[in-house]
Symmetry: C2
Subunit: 480 residues, 2 copies
């Protein structure tokens, strides 16, 4: 079988691939918002038809208690390694809507970018592999590897139904290698393979004050305003040095040797680069660490949203009865989300003033993950990037979270390759999210080469047995 | 002319009066929200027709740059005192909408209360006087006093167009006494005349961080979150003792003697009563003052609203580019809103961290007001309450703000009587605002008696010359 013919097919079908991706983005698949349940179901059915059309077998929906999972597979033969392609077709909420230059679900090309919610996170990156599979099947009539596609609709809400499925359906999902494209490169000419993702713990904090909203003239100065109390509590979540002020929170955080930190300083983004990507005028955070280290080696606590009282135009003289914050931790090895949850709740109890009442709700959580950078599948990805982008990829840590990764490693025992095609300025989770169109096309070529390289690697040394997966203590120190 | 016949008319027309008030409340006259401009214009025209129908002369709309003013008058004779009846037909925003038991603009009777936005603030209280005028005109064919009605549609946004009108149209609006019903009694059996209102200064504070919303995994821990920075700044607006921490803010605050404070302790609401009205579990605020004093003698700074980041269902992993707070001061003699505005801006500049940028906007302001409680018109109101409610009213300070009051005193030189008919639990500015229906009817009787008493007082001692208005240094110490 010839990767070259598959790549030729991908080249001649670029226009069509892009049009199909735009069709995919049109579905408003916001998993956090129940009114989009029907949109998500429609998108799942569209994705099943897409997988059937390109030639996969048994493409189907696996129903869950909430949003459906899309599954398909294609077997070439027992001598081939099995690749699990994971992606998610759900997307983040779109607000603030007024900051979008074009509507989030009306995909729009401006320059070399395709704008739309989900363009890079994760519909575009998922579609990279779908189109690579199509190129192989339409040219060779078969794939160089056995493939299982697993596309979920709940990644952005913490994969609550996929994680139990992994345990229940180990046979169905068993694979020698998993590939996940839901991460970022450093720049268009600096492709990257991620070998670390932070975990996450998403919480809501309600502060209840007076039993009803009050007139701020008639009661202002005599009752503790829940918005003020909430602000005062949030101000106590970090100390003056940018560290999280919750006792015990750093106790299990792994310390890394100078080898790893030196390598990170050499290969990773500089402070200036990160500030430029963030469009931020000054750094912030924990003293003693570079920004790249703060984003990857160290935990973070972020206020994701606050609301309470009047938010409309002009003035309303009100003391609200309630105020709410959404906040989330990003966690690193060897922190445990459940323990952090307990520490947070205990600290909130301690700092809640006697004038108000607080309630904490846990929305979702995910474990941090480290991937062995020495695995043969990583070498195959390295080869694929060199062919697809013409440049060798670097090994990066990411500050983001992909809930399934831990289960892939520890439940299925499948080593995972994080092949990112998004860019730091792609606006993932933000207005005007985009996907860099050249990365879409180069990504497809990279995926074609990756499948080929995996098959070759397996022939010389069967992948599964050479695996060093599930040994998440690796640093990338020894990697060239 | 006979007050008794007017009262008999009011008694037989109760059902009709209530139905008309419900019609009045149906107009969603939210002055802060531009989409209600048409509703406000329609309500103003309805009010003009209402004033024409009850027999006032030259009822008309005075157009302004924004929401219209409704004016009407009726002259009985030059030997009669002239009463200016002020009220406002605009209302506060209605959110949080989900907390209303019945829709805010579908007036609903439950028990002895009429529920709806504006029921007490201020459509119901304004309508008390309209119906009193109707009762006089339909029975006696004339009024005991000359009357001018001035009903505005911008009170809840700080009366930006009425205040200049007062200066420009002194002749049109000249009066011996003004009556304003936009305040509260202590309880259904404890009517009250207010002799002090706090001023107000309404502001917005924006905090700008990164140039766009960011993925909280990819950037969490390396940039200062605007919501966190805003919370940290708000936490610095008060000190540990519940005092406003802005330097100089208390400098001009008038100190009151023990005579006034003792009288207030005797007649005003207790701490327990205020906490019960607020449905609050614990007091809060400036040490060394009773809650009633904190609400009236002392300034307050209230966070009226906060917003930023994701506020929808579930989780969104975002660091917002911007966060906003709405906040307002309530000011007391002899504070100057403009000076407080300067002090606030200077303090915000001082506490803004270098990692973010802040912008302060002034939305509206109003001066604090004191009314001479010894004026003959106050005695007339006292008499009227005794007849209308069967109970003598007490003299109260209010923590609220009515922007026009200062101009009535200092521009027109008109002494004002604040005859309140609302109750502390009426939910002014809150969901489920209501008006206590017995207070509506007793209010109409009280207004009928008030006009009669004013005419009588004027006969024995012309009101204007006996006035001690525009001497706002009075306490109620010597008042029985």
């Amino acid at each position: 079988m010839s990767a070259a013919r598959a790549i030729a097919y991908a080249l001649t079908h670029r226009k069509c691939f892009l049009a199909e991706l735009m069709e995919f983005i049109r579905f408003p698949t916001i998993s956090a918002q129940s009114q989009h349940r029907g949109d998500i179901a429609r998108c799942a059915r569209w994705l099943v038809r897409q997988l059937q059309r390109i030639g996969l077998d048994d493409a189907r929906i696996i129903a869950t208690r909430h949003h459906p999972i899309v599954f398909a597979s294609r077997t070439t033969g027992p001598d081939r390694p099995t690749l699990l392609v994971y992606g998610h077709y759900d997307v983040q909420p779109v607000d603030p809507l007024d900051q979008w230059r074009s509507p989030p679900f009306a995909p729009t090309i401006r320059g070399s970018d395709l704008f739309g919610r989900g363009a890079s996170d994760d519909k575009g990156q998922l579609f990279v592999h779908v189109k690579a599979l199509e190129a192989w099947l339409q040219t060779a009539g078969a794939l160089p590897v056995n493939v299982k596609c697993l596309f979920e609709g709940e990644e952005e809400i913490g994969s609550p139904n996929l994680l139990p499925l992994l345990s229940r359906r180990r046979g169905l999902l068993a694979a020698d290698v998993a590939v996940v494209s839901d991460t970022r490169m450093l720049a268009p000419d600096r492709p990257a393979i991620n070998y670390a993702e932070r975990g996450a713990l998403y919480l809501e904090l309600d502060v209840y004050g007076p039993g009803r909203d009050l007139h701020s003239g008639n009661f202002g100065g005599a009752v503790h305003n829940p918005l003020q109390a909430l602000s005062e509590m949030i101000a106590q979540l970090h100390d003056q040095d940018g560290r999280i002020a919750i006792p015990g929170i750093y106790e299990r955080v792994r310390r890394w040797g100078s080898g790893e930190r030196t390598r990170m300083a050499r290969t990773g983004p500089s402070d200036d680069q990160i500030l430029q990507d963030a469009q931020a005028k000054a750094p912030w955070g924990e003293c003693g660490y570079s920004l790249y280290e703060r984003l990857t080696l160290r935990p973070a606590l972020t206020i994701n949203g606050m609301s309470g009282g009047y938010q409309g135009a002009g003035a309303k003289g009100v003391i609200p009865g309630r105020a709410t914050a959404k906040l989330s931790f990003r966690l690193v090895p060897d922190q445990d989300p459940q323990e952090v949850d307990r520490l947070f709740r205990s600290y909130i109890r301690k700092i809640t003033p006697s004038t108000v009442r607080t309630v904490v709700r846990t929305i979702s959580s995910a474990e941090p993950v480290l991937i062995d950078p020495h695995h043969a599948a990583i070498r195959a990805a390295h080869f694929a990037y060199r062919n697809g982008f013409g440049i060798a990829p670097i090994l990066l840590r990411s500050g983001g979270t992909i809930p399934i990764l831990n289960a892939l490693q520890n439940v299925l025992g499948t080593p995972t390759v994080l092949m990112g095609f998004a860019l730091p300025d792609d606006g993932m989770h933000a207005p005007n999210e985009k996907f860099h169109i050249p990365n879409f096309f180069k990504g497809i070529e990279t995926s074609i080469w990756f499948m080929q390289a995996l098959a070759n690697a397996h022939r010389s040394n069967p992948l599964r047995t050479s695996s060093r997966a599930a040994t998440p203590n690796m640093s990338a120190e020894a990697v060239p």
